[in-house]
C-alpha cells in the first residue's frame, strides 16, 4: 500500500515533484562539477604554470673552468625518482664562433640544443623533449629546424647580420666550419635573441666537444616550499632527510637530478620556482572556498524547494491522519518519495555535472579532466543526504498537523 501511494503521488502530481527533482539535479550537478574540477585543478594549474619556463638549472660544478656535462646522462633524467614530475628538459651547448652571412661578419654565440626530439627510455613512454616543450613563449618567424644543417637565429643578431629565414650562414670555431640554412628567426625579449640555435649534434662536432653539453634546463612539477621545504637538507637527520627527499620540493627534485648527471650541480631558478609556489597556493585555496560556497548554496536550494513542496501538502497529510495513518506511515510515505526523487536526481545530476566538468576543462585548459570514479557514489549519497536533511523540518511540521483544523478549510 505504501509503495502504491508513493507511486501514485509521483504520477498524479508531476509538477511540484518535477521542480524538486530539478533542484536536486541542479544541486548534485554543481557538486559533481566542482569536486571533479577541484580534484584535478591544482595539477592543471601547475602544468599551466610550467609554461613560465624551466625551474631547475643543471650545470657543471666547475662551470668557470669550462667544465661540461655528458650528453649520455640526459636520458637518465627521465628515469629518476621524480621522473613523472619532469614535464620537459632541454640541453644546451654554448660556444663562440665567427658568423658570416653574405658579406657581413660577426662574432657571436652558437648554441646547440634539442628542439623537439623523441626520447625513448626503457620502461617509460616515449616523450618529446627540447626547447619547444619547455619554452612555449618563443616566437618563431619561419619554422623550427628539422635537419642537422638547419638553424634558427635570434632576432637582434639576425637584424645585425641582415638575414632572415632562407638565408645561408657559416659558423667557424677553431678549425671547424659549418654551413647552416636559416629556417627561422626567434623573438623572446631575452638573451636568446643574440644567439644562433642549431641541432645539438652539429654544434658538438663544430666545437669538437662530442657528447658534451654546457647545461640542462629542466621543467618540473613541484610542490610549494613550506617551512620544512626551506630547511637546509645538510642539517637534517636521517628521517627528516628521507621525508624531504620524498616530497617534490624544487630543491629535492634538483638534488635528484644532481645525482644522475655526473659532475653536475642543480640549482632551482628561484624567479620561476618561488612565484609559482605562491600562485598555486592561492589558486587552490580560492577554488576550495568556491567549492564550499557552491556546495552550501546547492544544499540550501534543494532543501528549500523540498520545504516549499511539503508545505503545499497540508490537506493531504491531514486527510491521511484522519483516516488513521500513524506517524511512522506518514514518515515512510514522505521519505520514500524523497529517496526516490533524490536517487534519480543524484544520477542525473552526476551525468550533467560530468558534462559540465568536461566543458569547463576543455574551455579553460584544452584538456579533458576525467571525474574520478569515487565521485559517482559520492554524488548520489550527497543528494540523498541533502534531501533527507532538507525534509526533516517539513516532515516534522507535517506530523504536527491537526487534521481538524486543516480539513475545515
Amino acid at each position: 500500500v505504501l509503495l502504491r501511494i508513493v507511486k501514485n503521488s509521483i504520477r498524479r502530481r508531476p509538477r511540484p515533484l518535477l521542480l524538486v527533482l530539478l533542484s536536486v539535479i541542479m544541486g548534485s550537478s554543481v557538486a559533481t562539477a566542482f569536486l571533479g574540477i577541484n580534484g584535478d585543478l591544482s595539477r592543471r594549474m601547475s602544468l599551466e604554470l610550467r609554461s613560465y619556463g624551466a625551474n631547475i638549472l643543471v650545470e657543471p660544478i666547475a662551470a668557470d673552468q669550462g667544465g661540461l656535462l655528458n650528453a649520455a646522462d640526459l636520458p637518465r633524467i627521465k628515469s629518476i625518482f621524480w621522473r613523472h614530475n619532469i614535464t620537459g628538459f632541454a640541453p644546451y651547448l654554448f660556444g663562440v664562433a665567427d658568423l658570416a652571412a653574405g658579406t657581413k661578419k660577426e662574432r657571436g654565440v652558437v648554441t646547440g640544443t634539442w628542439f623537439g626530439r623523441e626520447l625513448a627510455v626503457e620502461g617509460e613512454e616515449t616523450t618529446i623533449q627540447g626547447v619547444r616543450v619547455i619554452a612555449p613563449w618563443w616566437e618563431i618567424a619561419g619554422r623550427w629546424p628539422e635537419t642537422p644543417d638547419e638553424a634558427i637565429v635570434g632576432a637582434t643578431l639576425a637584424a645585425r647580420l641582415g638575414i632572415g629565414a632562407g638565408a645561408e650562414l657559416t659558423a667557424t670555431a677553431l678549425q671547424e666550419s659549418r654551413r647552416f640554412r636559416v629556417v627561422g628567426v626567434v623573438t623572446t625579449g631575452g638573451y636568446e635573441e643574440e644567439q644562433v640555435f642549431a641541432p645539438l649534434a652539429t654544434v658538438q662536432s663544430l666545437l669538437r666537444t662530442e657528447g658534451k653539453v654546457s647545461r640542462v634546463l629542466v621543467s618540473a612539477l613541484t610542490v610549494p616550499a613550506d617551512d620544512f621545504g626551506r630547511k637546509d637538507p645538510a642539517t637534517m637527520g636521517r628521517d627528516e632527510y628521507e621525508k624531504w627527499y620524498c616530497t617534490a620540493y624544487v630543491t629535492s627534485v634538483a638534488k635528484n637530478l644532481e645525482e644522475v648527471m655526473a659532475g653536475s650541480r642543480a640549482k632551482p631558478v628561484w624567479q620561476i620556482a618561488s612565484a609559482e609556489g605562491g600562485l598555486l597556493r592561492k589558486l587552490n585555496g580560492l577554488m576550495l572556498l568556491l567549492t564550499v560556497l557552491a556546495l552550501g548554496a546547492s544544499a540550501t536550494a534543494v532543501s528549500s524547494s523540498l520545504m516549499a513542496s511539503m508545505a503545499q501538502r497540508c490537506p493531504e497529510i491531514a486527510l491521511m491522519k484522519a483516516v488513521g495513518a500513524d506517524r511512522l506511515q506518514i514518515i515512510a510515505i514522505f521519505m520514500g518519495e524523497i529517496l526516490i526523487l533524490s536517487a534519480v536526481g543524484g544520477v542525473l545530476g552526476y551525468l550533467v555535472g560530468d558534462r559540465l566538468t568536461l566543458i569547463i576543462s576543455r574551455m579553460v585548459f584544452d584538456a579533458t579532466i576525467i571525474s574520478p570514479f569515487w565521485l559517482f557514489p559520492t554524488a548520489i549519497l550527497a543528494a540523498l543526504a541533502v534531501a533527507v536533511a532538507g525534509s526533516v523540518v517539513p516532515v516534522r511540521r507535517a506530523l504536527a498537523i491537526e487534521p481538524v483544523r486543516v480539513l475545515r478549510g
Partner: protein
C-alpha cells in the same frame, strides 16, 4: 486611490499571514543574490590579486641601448665583452618614464667590471629598495645593505670565500671603492655571479655618472598589456629600445586570461543552478495558491489586478532578499579574499544593483511565470478544491 491602498494591504497581509513561507522565500532569494555579490566581488578582486601575484615573476619590459647585447645566459657563462658596452642616460630615461604616465615598477641597472685581488668582478649598480620590489625571489643570507654596503652572489662568494661582514677594496676605472658585504644572494640566475652595489657608488667608481646599462619595468598585467606599453614607450625613448620579455609577459597574459575564464564559467554555472532552483521553489509556492487566485477572481478581480498583487509581492520579496543577499555576499567575499589573498576586497556598489536585480528577476520569473498557467484555471474548478 482606495483601491490601490487596499491592494498594498492585501500584499502585506499576505506576506505576514504566511510568515513561514515568506521567510523561506526570503532566505532562498537572499542566498541566490549573495552568491551573485560574493562571486562578483571575489572574481573582480581576484583578477587584481592574481595580477599582483603574477608580478612576482619579475619585470616584463626592458629598456636598453639599441646596440647593446643582452648577456648570454647566466652563471659562469662569460664569453667576455664582444663589443664595447653602451649606456643609457639615466636622467633622460627617468624623465621619459615619468612623462609617459605609465604606471610601472622600475629598477635601474648598471654593469661594469671592478678589479679585486688580481681578478675582475662583474658588478651591478642597483637601487636596493627597487630590487626588493622587482626581484621578490632573491633569497638572502645576511641583511639588505645599508649605505656603503654590498650584496654578493652565491657563486661569487663561494669563489672568493666571502662572508657577510667582509670588507672589500675594489678598484674601478676611475676611483677606488671600499664596501662591506652585508649579505649573500641566491637566485639560481645570473645574479649568483654578480656583486651588487648602490648605483651612485658604482657610477662614481666607474666614472660613469648618470649612466645606466639597463632599465627593467614591471607593467601590471591586466591593466596594461606589456606589448602595448612597450609600443607606447618606444617613441618617448629615443636612443633606446624597449623590449617585451616574452617569457614573463606573454605567459602572464595567458595565465590571467585562463584564470578569469575559469572564474566566469564557475560563476555562470553556480548562478544558473542556484537561480533555477530558487525560481522552482518560488513557483511551487505560487502553484499552491490556485485557490486564493480563484477566490479573487470569483470576487470580481480582473486579471491585471491579480497579476499586480502577485507582482508586488514578488517585487517586495525580491528587493528585500536582494539587499540582504548583497550584505551577506559582501561578508562572504571579504572572508574569501582575506583568507586567500590576505587583503580586503573592495566594496563595489555595482554588485548591489546586480544582486538586487538578480533577486527581483528570479522572484518575478518564479512567480509571475507559473501564474500564467494558474490564470487559465476556471475559478470554479480551483475553488472546488483540486
Amino acid at each position: 486611490m482606495f483601491r490601490r491602498r487596499w491592494m498594498l494591504t492585501l500584499v502585506l497581509r499576505a506576506l505576514v499571514y504566511r510568515r513561514g513561507r515568506t521567510v523561506l522565500l526570503l532566505a532562498v532569494l537572499a542566498m541566490a543574490s549573495s552568491l551573485v555579490a560574493a562571486l562578483g566581488i571575489v572574481s573582480d578582486s581576484m583578477g587584481r590579486r592574481v595580477a599582483e601575484e603574477i608580478g612576482k615573476y619579475g619585470a616584463n619590459l626592458v629598456v636598453m641601448p639599441p646596440d647593446a647585447r643582452i648577456e648570454v645566459g647566466s652563471g659562469g657563462l662569460n664569453f667576455g665583452a664582444i663589443r664595447e658596452p653602451s649606456y643609457l642616460d639615466q636622467q633622460r630615461v627617468t624623465d621619459a618614464l615619468t612623462g609617459s604616465g605609465l604606471r610601472a615598477e622600475r629598477s635601474l641597472h648598471l654593469r661594469g667590471l671592478l678589479h679585486w685581488r688580481d681578478a675582475d668582478i662583474m658588478a651591478e649598480g642597483v637601487n636596493f629598495p627597487e630590487i626588493r620590489r622587482l626581484f621578490p625571489w632573491w633569497q638572502l643570507r645576511g641583511a639588505w645593505p645599508q649605505a656603503g654596503e654590498a650584496l654578493v652572489g652565491v657563486d661569487l662568494a663561494a669563489r672568493f670565500g666571502l662572508q657577510p661582514g667582509d670588507l672589500l677594496e675594489l678598484a674601478g676605472a676611475s676611483r677606488h671603492l671600499r664596501t662591506r658585504v652585508s649579505g649573500i644572494v641566491t637566485s639560481g640566475g645570473e645574479e649568483d655571479a654578480l656583486l651588487f652595489l648602490e648605483l651612485p657608488e658604482l657610477q662614481t667608481a666607474l666614472g660613469l655618472e648618470n649612466r645606466v646599462s639597463l632599465v627593467r619595468l614591471l607593467v601590471t598585467v591586466g591593466r596594461d598589456r606589456p606589448s602595448d606599453a612597450a609600443a607606447a614607450l618606444q617613441p618617448l625613448l629615443t636612443g633606446a629600445t624597449v623590449r617585451e620579455v616574452r617569457q614573463v609577459a606573454r605567459t602572464s597574459e595567458n595565465l590571467l586570461a585562463k584564470v578569469k575564464l575559469l572564474m566566469s564559467l564557475v560563476t555562470a554555472v553556480v548562478l544558473v543552478c542556484a537561480g533555477s532552483s530558487v525560481a522552482g521553489t518560488m513557483s511551487t509556492t505560487v502553484l499552491e495558491r490556485g485557490r486564493e487566485i480563484g477566490l479573487m477572481k470569483a470576487m470580481g478581480a480582473g486579471r491585471w489586478e491579480v497579476l499586480l498583487i502577485f507582482f508586488g509581492e514578488s517585487l517586495l520579496l525580491g528587493v528585500s532578499g536582494g539587499v540582504a543577499g548583497y550584505l551577506a555576499g559582501i561578508g562572504i567575499a571579504q572572508f574569501v579574499t582575506r583568507t586567500i589573498f590576505a587583503a580586503p576586497a573592495g566594496v563595489i556598489p555595482v554588485f548591489a544593483v546586480a544582486s538586487v536585480g538578480v533577486s527581483v528577476m528570479i522572484a518575478i520569473m518564479g512567480s509571475v511565470g507559473p501564474m500564467m498557467a494558474v490564470f487559465r484555471l476556471d475559478p470554479v474548478i480551483s475553488l472546488r478544491g483540486e
